[in-house]
Symmetry: C4
Subunit: 370 residues, 4 copies
């Protein structure tokens, strides 16, 4: 894995970074990063859902004063593309999250730093721009969780992104078959000072799932406890159901992320895009709603925004661009994505994001009146 200080000429579109990352990373590492849970059914569904929607251009509209700015949870963002929280980025590049943060700063991008980052959240914050959020995993002990929260507050993170869908995961068959195992020296820098989980012996007849992995998984009570212990707004990530969306909204979270964790938790859940419209309908038009899952191009971003997302996160594109060309790659990928989003806005005659809506999309399989 030799990081490249330049953009390879083979990169014609953002998705090309995946192919190049394949060539550059060790096989098992690539399979782990690119693969989804199980047989990749959900990861593939994420991609396919975008192909099932087409964009309907509008003609002759003046977009010469167009822009992609938006206000999101108190941030004035230049564009609606966020860097999703991706764990252990040194797997892809030695500079890991530091390079990602530099790219975010260079491109006015909001960064979401993972609890499981390879570098400490304070160090990541020093390289990031002003727009940065911290992704929080509940820790086995509440004092550790609280310490993480306080550190994120102190380091200037503007929101806590609670990943709620990863209490249990199915392994990636691609990664297993490629022989991937997490390197022994890969440790979550943020958790270095905390005690590990208390030993939890399973009684005879107990389930490794219910009484094992799910022992101590966060519940609604934990969410309420956390809300009362931080001044940061909470963003709930991993929502795929309208009822959960409404319940979270009712408990005071500030925003939701429609996400299936990039297809990395339970294989066989729906494409994020497939459930987005129903969730937007459920939370109403004004509530901050983000999207994550399968975005590989600016037109993918356009479609998610048109279906009701206020902003979108990119995960695999981020890690693949990082693997190929470090901070420069991530910045280049973000610029390509943003310009392609702008092209879609221009083609549909939308000078601002506020004009995007489902009327700009068309489903090919819908019957037409013949």
């Amino acid at each position: 894995m030799t990081p490249q200080p330049r953009i390879p000429p083979e990169v014609r579109c953002a998705a090309d970074y995946e192919m190049l990352a394949h060539a550059r990373l060790a096989g098992p590492v690539f399979e782990y990063l690119a693969g989804g849970a199980g047989e990749d059914l959900t990861a593939a569904a994420n991609r396919a859902a975008f192909r099932g929607l087409t964009i309907l251009p509008r003609l002759l509209r003046d977009v010469s004063r167009g822009h992609t700015r938006l206000r999101l949870m108190g941030h004035e963002l230049e564009h609606p593309l966020l860097l999703a929280p991706v764990a252990f980025q040194t797997l892809a590049h030695p500079a890991g999250e530091l390079d990602t943060a530099r790219a975010a700063a260079a491109t006015d991008t909001c960064l979401v730093c993972s609890t499981l980052s390879s570098f400490a959240l304070e160090e990541v914050a020093r390289h990031a721009g002003p727009h940065r959020w911290f992704q929080l995993y509940f820790q086995p002990r509440r004092d550790a969780t609280l310490d993480l929260v306080h550190r994120a507050e102190a380091a200037g993170y503007g929101a806590l992104v609670l990943t709620l869908d990863a209490s249990i995961q199915m392994p990636s068959l691609r990664a297993l078959r490629a022989g991937f195992r997490m390197p022994d020296d890969l440790r979550p820098a943020n958790l270095a000072g905390y005690p590990g989980p208390a030993p939890h012996a399973l009684p005879a007849g107990a389930s490794r799932v219910f009484q094992g992995a799910m022992h101590g998984a966060p519940t609604w009570a934990d969410l309420e406890w956390l809300a009362s212990h931080t001044r940061l707004p909470l963003v709930a990530k991993g929502v795929l159901r309208s009822d959960d969306a409404c319940d979270l909204q009712g408990r005071g979270v500030a925003a939701l992320v429609v996400s299936n964790h990039g297809g990395r938790t339970i294989d066989g859940v729906p494409a994020s895009l497939a459930v987005l419209p129903a969730i937007r309908a459920a939370v109403g038009p004004g509530f901050p709603l983000l999207f994550d899952g399968g975005i590989r191009s600016g037109s993918d971003a356009f479609k998610a925004l048109a279906l009701g997302a206020d902003a979108v996160m990119v995960g695999r594109l981020q890690i693949h661009a990082l693997a190929v060309a470090g901070a420069l790659g991530v910045a280049h990928m973000l610029r390509m994505l943003r310009e392609e989003l702008e092209v879609c806005m221009a083609a549909t005659g939308c000078p601002t994001l506020a004009e995007l809506g489902p009327g700009l999309l068309h489903r090919p399989q819908e019957p037409h009146p013949c």
Copy 2:
């Protein structure tokens, strides 16, 4: 065919046993066991139907006291996975049904022993756990049928599973093309003492189907006769229609198995999963309903249970795991399946099977409101 006393490391998921069984069994035998009737259209449809459904996780629910227990026809089962009746298991492994029975006992699994087992039902019973049912094929002579029933009662089988869809079958083209023929020394141990069918010369112009194979096929009258001659509950297997389901329910059978015989009888019948919801709707919520057809993973089991089945049967997974690693393989496969089912329950926030329902599933092809 050398039985292996260990779990091969290549087994990453239950379905991997099929691939390994392919390598381990003689080609024609593998084709016979894995193939379906005709061109495998129904066998393939069984698999495809599961892919057409996705699972909708629910967040933040406490499942730490979760379990998979259920009460089914008087049995207190640890989990809803049953071993389907598979004939002539020595084709796959010398220990055949005895090893399958040992695996059932070791994993608290309800075993269904076939009329066409390679070992006598009494011997199988000695190795099985307390939960065991006997699958009954009507014999050409009623006294033989009755003797089988009495033997099953005496050997402690708790129910009679009547396979109703196998009076006539289309051959498997895969098996024919591979040159499979049933070995001459493979005899149904249970039938050793009974006279064969009376010679039945077809008159000129008679049909080998109607007046041949279907001569003496069981009818409603036979079902009533049987019900009046046993104290065991009857489970009707092979149901694909709501009207048949209601008729069977009306005649007093204790449970139904929605099944297409793993695609091994008539090629071109629907996937079992495709008809399951209508049959559950027809028999009402409380009636014991089992499912069989295409299950290769715990998430498949989850989907069938969510669509209304109380329990599911596994056939090909059983025979493939048996071929690869004998009793140990079958037990390992059942454990993988059960844990994956638990993972799906945990991800959907269901501590018990009673919480499963169709609201946890989503059909990708359903239109969404854009």
Copy 3:
């Protein structure tokens, strides 16, 4: 092309004759016989339509007195499988229509002899059984048409099958690319005595289609003229629309054949099966309706019959079986087809054809109530 006096052991199902005919016939001849118009879109659609329907078995019904007999336009037929009119059968086998006729006689099958047969209709009639119809193409001169009709009446043909969809055809790209051309010595025996079409010079600016090929194509007036000049019942073949079906019914034809000419006329017309139910609905329950298009198995026949056909025709199966094993092959193919039809009837609990209906079928893509 060496005719084989035996059934090759590789024939496991009727459709296997196609594969073997491929090996046995000269490449261009095979492509011509197997190919459809244009790119084979319609020929492929014919096949795909059957796969889109599944069969719903019914349990425990007594079919031990079952049969496949039917009464069709005055014939008491043993089964509902007819041999479609296929032209120039010596392309496939030196004995051509004579062997086909022998097979028909041996299997109680109704034969439809083509106007373009390689042998004279009188000679074909001598080898056929009692059930035989004559397929009539309108000739350029009415006296020739009338002479054909009188000869068919004299030779004991029981109906005239008017092929209405072949006035113009698109060539088969497969056949063209394989270099097929009709052999010079291949002449329609029935037309030997008639004058050819009058030379018909196209004026400048005229269309080779409208003023060329369609000059003299049959119209409603020709149909009425013919009806008034024969005592034979007329069967209109090539119907794909409900309105045409009703018009033909109104003009007194005795029966219809839903057919797209095996996909050999206009590439891109619907599968015959796709339009069958609407046509049955249009003509009402009692009107004789035949089906042709894509049948390769007894379950295909079952599906067409369940959707409203009284009987079905087989074309390519006929010619492929003829190519492989002459009269014996055609008879064997018919027997396989009939027995598979009987298996489907037995599995659905139908002792007679009268019990077949759409309730025995299921469309997998139909939504189910989850």
Copy 4:
């Protein structure tokens, strides 16, 4: 690239020209001409949409006086096939647009000359027949636009085709990956005398899309200005939405072209055919409506006409036939297309284009009443 003075015998249908052009053109040039924007999703959708519709023949109708003539915007055309405006045709053949124009003249075809033609519009006009239109791109300066308009009027072009969907385009990944770049010596002959666009430095923070490419893109105001400065009827090309269609109709354009620019602008817009019926419904039955996008055969043309187009344009077929056999190739392609259209009309019993309508088509995926 050696132009061929004959029709290659491998050409069995119009679409065969693509395959032969592939062999004849330099790889990057072929990819540029054949490719669409991005990943060719829209280009592929254009083709697939035709396969989703089938043609329903009608029987026994007299078409012996049939023809394909139509009156379109004052032209009496022999047939409804137009040559779409394709830029820089010397990329495909040294004689470029001159040969295309000769083919148009020889086949009574209406030619649409591109603003970006390799030869001057006056020279193209001299080789074309009486039916010729000029495709207009708005120029950076209005005086240049106006000069083009006056030249087109003077050269006898009968309409101005305004391409409205090309203000911004996504590059073709196929072309980029093949290394295509526009040859330096390839200049739009029509624009030789005009000044280039004024240098337009982007301010810091400005978008290369909104403030760059879309700076000066035509708007509704430009359309109104143009309408008031020419006596030629305006044809708006690139319409994919009903609302745009109605707005354009309301502003006085004389005709519309439903088109997605052959999938060459924004990848991921719908197939032209998918939106055609809604647009016909929106503009009403009498309004001139043309179609462009994916036509490769006369049956494709038939389908577009049946769904409401008055005439259709062919682009890639034109350029591929030109590459293979110059003027002769284009003329031959047009003749094949026209005759295949006539075959479809004959098969559906339509002597004139006025009889075409959606009732002649059928969607296979529509449920049928079983």
